[in-house]
Amino acid sequence: MIFEPLASSCVTSRIVKDAARRERWGHSASEQNGRVIPFPEAGGSGLDDAAIVRILLAGDPRAARVVWNRLAPMVRGMLLRSFGPEHDIDDLIQEVFLTLFKRVATLREPQALRAFVIAITAHTIRREVRRKIATRWLQLGTTHGAVARDADLDSREALVRLYRILDRLGAEERTAFSLRFFEGLEIVQVARALGISAATTKRRIAHAWTRIVTHAKRDAALVEYLSSYSPEGAP
């Protein structure tokens, strides 16, 4: 059993992990001036979605780690692709997982955990886009364009321009577009994630498509870059 100081750090995390190896997981006792954090040895990689939902519902102390290991890469990828590599998505990832913990009791089919998390992420994306639009509208601050790291200058600039075009879309259109094209979901899956009909989804995606293409075509440099861009490698 170990105690985590309130001001924790990565070092603390390692100490916690080492101590937990000795203690085994499953403890939940607490003592004065500290919290007991049991650190599970196993990542829950052998569990299926239904089993994960069961430990979530049971308030099992392994739940956070298991869910994180299983779903955080997917959530992070979705958010990254929706907002661009330079958008700060750490808070959004936390928001998605906190919502999952809060709403997991409403999940009717435990096997549909992944779809449930996709829906939560989609709503988080939509809310964040609305927040960005509202921020721009209120002129309370500037929203900076996305800038890719570790990419050559041309692709970075192209990415900036493309995400600026995305910034012109409404929250509904942008989210639908992201799910359909960035994540490769089918129309029905996008509709389910957004809680709208397939027809509405198609309409929003078509609208987003048209606007993106129109705006992109107005940018000669961007068109030029995309024309020479080869998906197999850098242009």
């Binding site: 990565c10 995390s13 994180w68 992070r76 990828g77 990254l80 936390q94 906190l98 209120l138 990415l159």
Partner: protein, 413 residues
């Protein structure tokens, strides 16, 4: 390029960028989640505390709303004249003036009578009853000004001109010094779009109209002025100063006034009809278009040619734009686009970007021009030579798209 290809490549680029991002959802995020979950299991704060927070938030929001600067309607003051009820202004001296809060200015000759109405955040509606106005409208985004003179209406966005209306002779006299305006009224052939240098005299009684081009045509320029600027690179920053005006031939009536078919080109470009605009220009004759088209149409044609990848035509149009409308914002912007079009000729591209930065240090494309200049200098003269530009870029556009590259350049020092 097909729409499908644009989307496919955009998606691929976004996916590749997300894959390239090295930071995974690491243990710090998990740790934070665990702490948040532990915190959420603690006793919830009392309703009194929540109520206090809500109240504080509401108060903050109210203060924020009150403090956000909002556009207000323009105000104006009159010198050397008198103002009567309803914004009726009469100039009592030769130097009478109406000055607006956005620094737009109307000089009035003695005895000029003017009514100022519908003053809002974007401009005003002015009715010239009689006399002569010397108008200088400050160019602003969404600016909306209009001047009634007898049966004519002059629509303005940002420009300088002299406007006179003689009641007895029913004659409108409009001499445009800068920018462009559109004149509505009983004109043969519809509205007239005027550009800097045009002098219009219209008579509402007999419907006669003449437009004289008073643009400066210097000895080194032909009618289009193309010879003054080389397509391979700028000869030097274009000055807006004018020498003694040399009137060019009168346009004999509206028949010879350039008018794009199928509506204004700018609107068609906005709809994505790039090829149609280029075709229309070719039908009318490129030389004629370059020498006669108003600035707005020329700019639209340049855009259409660029978007439709007719790069030679785009270059010609941009060069003509710079020569004919030297000193205007669009002419200055043309330098940036010419740099963009100078692909494969890095020296020429660099020269155009430097020209743009010289002419428009705070222009809309200054960030991109400076970033590209930095890249080109690095490619042409090496990293050492590019560092000064990198430092300037970071100082001016610290979070711009070229900032990471600029930092890399400076770090490598």
């Amino acid at each position: 390029m097909k729409p499908q290809e644009i989307i496919d490549r955009f998606v691929h680029l976004a996916r590749r960028a997300s894959e390239d991002s090295i930071d995974g959802p690491g243990p710090a995020g998990l740790h934070r989640l665990e702490r948040a979950l532990a915190g959420s299991r603690r006793p919830r704060p009392s309703f009194v505390w929540i109520g206090g927070c809500v109240l504080a938030a509401a108060l903050s929001a109210t203060i924020a709303v009150l403090l956000i600067p909002r556009d207000r309607a323009l105000t104006f003051e009159v010198t050397q004249g008198c103002v009567r009820e309803g914004g009726y202004v009469v100039s009592k001296a030769a130097d009478g003036a109406v000055r607006f809060s956005d620094h737009s200015d109307l000089g009035m000759d003695q005895g000029t009578r003017l009514r100022v109405s519908n003053v809002d955040v974007h401009g005003a509606h002015l009715m010239l009853e009689a006399g002569t106005l010397h108008v200088s409208i400050r160019p602003r985004r969404l600016a909306r000004w209009s001047f009634d003179a007898g049966p004519y209406v002059v629509h303005v966005t940002g420009t300088a001109f002299d406007l006179a209306w003689e009641v007895e002779r029913q004659t409108l006299d409009l001499r445009l010094h800068e920018g462009s305006v559109t004149v509505e009224g009983p004109l043969a052939g519809g509205d007239i779009h005027m550009i800097a240098g045009d002098h219009l005299v219209a008579n509402a009684g007999d419907g006669s109209l003449s437009i004289v081009d008073e643009r400066n045509v210097g000895p080194s320029q032909d009618r289009t002025g193309i010879s003054a600027v080389s397509e391979t690179g700028p000869a030097g920053p274009v000055s807006s100063s004018r020498s003694t005006p040399a009137p060019s031939p009168t346009r004999p009536g509206t028949g010879s006034v350039f008018r794009p078919s199928g509506g204004p080109w700018a609107a068609r470009v906005a709809r994505g009809d790039f090829e149609a605009v280029v075709d229309d220009a070719r039908r009318q004759g490129i030389d004629r278009v370059l020498s006669e088209a108003p600035q707005a149409d020329l700019a639209a044609l340049a855009d259409a040619a660029r978007y439709a990848r007719h790069q030679d035509l785009a270059r010609r149009v941009l060069v003509a734009q710079r020569a004919r409308f030297a000193g205007s914002v669009l002419a200055k912007d043309a330098a940036f686009f010419l740099g963009d079009l100078a692909e494969g000729r890095q020296d020429a591209a660099l020269s155009w970007y430097e020209t743009y930065l010289y002419e428009s240090p705070d222009g809309a494309y200054a960030s991109q021009a400076l970033g590209r200049k930095m890249t080109l200098v690095q490619q042409l003269r090496g990293a050492e030579a590019a560092r000064a530009t990198a430092a300037e870029y970071l100082q001016r556009f610290g979070d711009g798209p070229y900032a990471p590259n600029a930092r890399k350049l400076l770090r490598a020092q």
